[in-house]
């Protein structure tokens, strides 16, 4: 699905990613954990194509395409989805209208016919139910006046609508109460299939009780320094990151 090799990236002259390697196969869920400032969100931003970041070295192969060579929108059209850590409010732009435009531009890119209004509305009804998003919210301006939990649910709703190959959830669990967390996790689990994959970036093991990862990686100082199964997350929750730093120092 995605193969990241020796990825180096900097912002404003400061190197954040320093040779990151990661491979995710179809059907897998990977969790990336790590202390603040390790480069977790930078990784998400670089993969989604945020222009503030400069990739200085390395390669990313996304299902045969050179991801770093694609514009942001083409990455999305190839099936990459980023659930934002801080979903932005866009007053006046309707959630529904913009999603229909997005779906149709993705279809056009794949040389498919546009979705009919009827099919689109049916899809909206089905997917908003999945994340328990009030259908009124679905038709409002993007995230405008949404609570923190509603914004995150809206991210998963959009993910469900776009049905990506690879979803990257950037701290989607931060700031959610346990009910909202359960809804978000439930949505992710329902969308999981053998053909898609998920990268979950998180601070907390708590989310991983609900979204069970196949692999847990520790990102530290711009690199993946340790990889294990889901039990690694429990160990990190209990002991923090100092022991990993010590391990590295030795």
């Amino acid at each position: 699905m995605i193969e990241i090799k020796n990825l180096h990236a900097k912002i404003g002259g400061k190197e954040i990613l320093k040779g990151l390697n990661l491979e995710v196969k179809a059907g897998e869920i990977h969790a990336i954990m790590g202390p603040n400032g390790a480069g977790k969100s930078t990784l998400a931003s670089v993969l989604a194509g945020r222009e503030d970041y400069e990739v200085t070295k390395g390669s990313v192969d996304f299902d045969g395409a050179d991801l770093l060579d694609l514009a942001t929108e083409d990455r999305a059209r190839e099936g990459l989805f980023l659930a934002f850590q801080y979903p932005i409010e866009i007053p006046g732009v309707s959630n529904i209208n913009f999603l229909r435009t997005a779906i149709n531009e993705i279809r056009e890119y794949k040389k498919e016919d546009p979705i009919s209004a009827k099919d689109f509305m049916a899809l909206v009804r089905e997917k908003s139910k999945l994340v328990e998003l009030d259908s009124k919210l679905a038709s409002r301006s993007v995230n405008e006046g949404f609570s923190g939990g509603e914004k995150k649910r809206n991210e998963i709703f959009q993910m469900a609508m776009l049905n990506p190959k690879l979803a990257i959830l950037d701290e989607t669990d931060s700031g959610l109460d346990i009910d909202a967390l359960r809804v978000v996790a439930n949505g992710v689990n329902m969308l999981k299939s053998n053909d898609n994959a998920t990268i979950v970036i998180t601070h907390y093991q708590r989310l991983l009780d609900h979204i069970v990862p196949d692999f847990v990686h520790v990102l530290y100082d711009g690199k993946i320094v340790k990889t294990g199964g889901k039990e690694l997350a429990l160990e990190l929750e209990e002991k923090g990151y100092d022991w990993i730093k010590e391990e590295l120092a030795n």
Partner: protein, 417 residues
Amino acid sequence: MNVIIPKKAELASKLEATTIPVSSEDKQLALEVIEKTPLPTTRTEAWKYTRVARIGKIAFTNQQAKIKSSIEKYIIDFSAATLVFVNGHFEKELSSDNLPEGVSWNLLSALDVLPKTKLKLENEIFNSLNTAHLTDGIQLTVAPNIVVEQPIQILHILKGTKVISNFKVLVNAEKSSQASIIQGYFSEEGENKFCNVISEINVAENATLSIDKIQYEDEHSFHISTEEVSQECNSLFTMNTSTLNGGLVRNNLHINVIGENCNSILNGIYLTKDKQHVDNHTIVNHVAAHCESHELYKGVMDDKSTAVFNGKVFVRPDAQKINAFQSNGNVLLSDDATVNSKPELEIYADDVKCSHGSTTGQLDEEALFYLRARGLSKHSAHQLMVSAFIGEVLDMFKNKNVRSYIDALLQERFGWE
């Protein structure tokens, strides 16, 4: 000592004095003003950001002309009664035979004498030019107590090189009447053409009048339009101005609120590109108490285009209990686009609620990234953001046909879908 003699403008040099029965006093004064008044320069406060020197160097003429394309494409609202003018001359064959019941009309050329103008002529070369060289125009009267459902649209098409149309619209909405008027300004071929239009509008006691104005002349056109409105007590007046094309466009919208308990609504959008220049000057003059005015203008400028917004609200000493709100927002899409925004309030009464504000910025990069990360092209993301921005103004337009026509023009000119 050197005496600087102001250079006389060329613009009227080839024009004959009007044969329309303008009041002789107005005509005499207007001719004198043209003779002795140079064009305003950027040293004139009201023209600080708009250079009109180019207009002064052209010796304009006026001719009748026939339009090439079918009138259909200029029809803004197919449900409306239509009056068509080309270069200021009435086109009977292209116009509706009848106006709705309760609306009477006359061509200005058919009147015995025009009412004396309410506009200032001294030092005002464009007002004087319109008065002394008036091409033709229309007088509309809405009878008292009549509610006119069908809109009346006045379409003006400018055609030909160095052609000028000094066009005039007189509207009298009588007591307790209700009507809506659409004004559309378009153009066909020709360089350096000039539409110089004046509307004098009276909204009588308890009357409701709304005007939707669409300006879509091409980039080789000059357009100066002045609306002089008076509102008597308990009246409601709405003016929606949409400037979507035109080389140099200047709008002067003056509303004199002389009666109590009036409501004045001024909405405007302007979208510019290439080297266009669009200038909106508005004045709301609150003379009487217990009135409200709401003004919202928004603009989006691309390429090397320039826009000006100057909105003035006066609250005179006797105008207590006034609520006057004014807001202007601008988005610049390119590094070379410019806007000069100047909201002004002058308050001489002490029990009023007034606010004004002006913002200028670029589209939110973070929002654009968000939309693109969902698969939208840069173009679609821009368009969605811009249309959300001006949508706040367009949502105020009550006539849905006008709204659809504007959407179609946005598609034609800016590639919106």
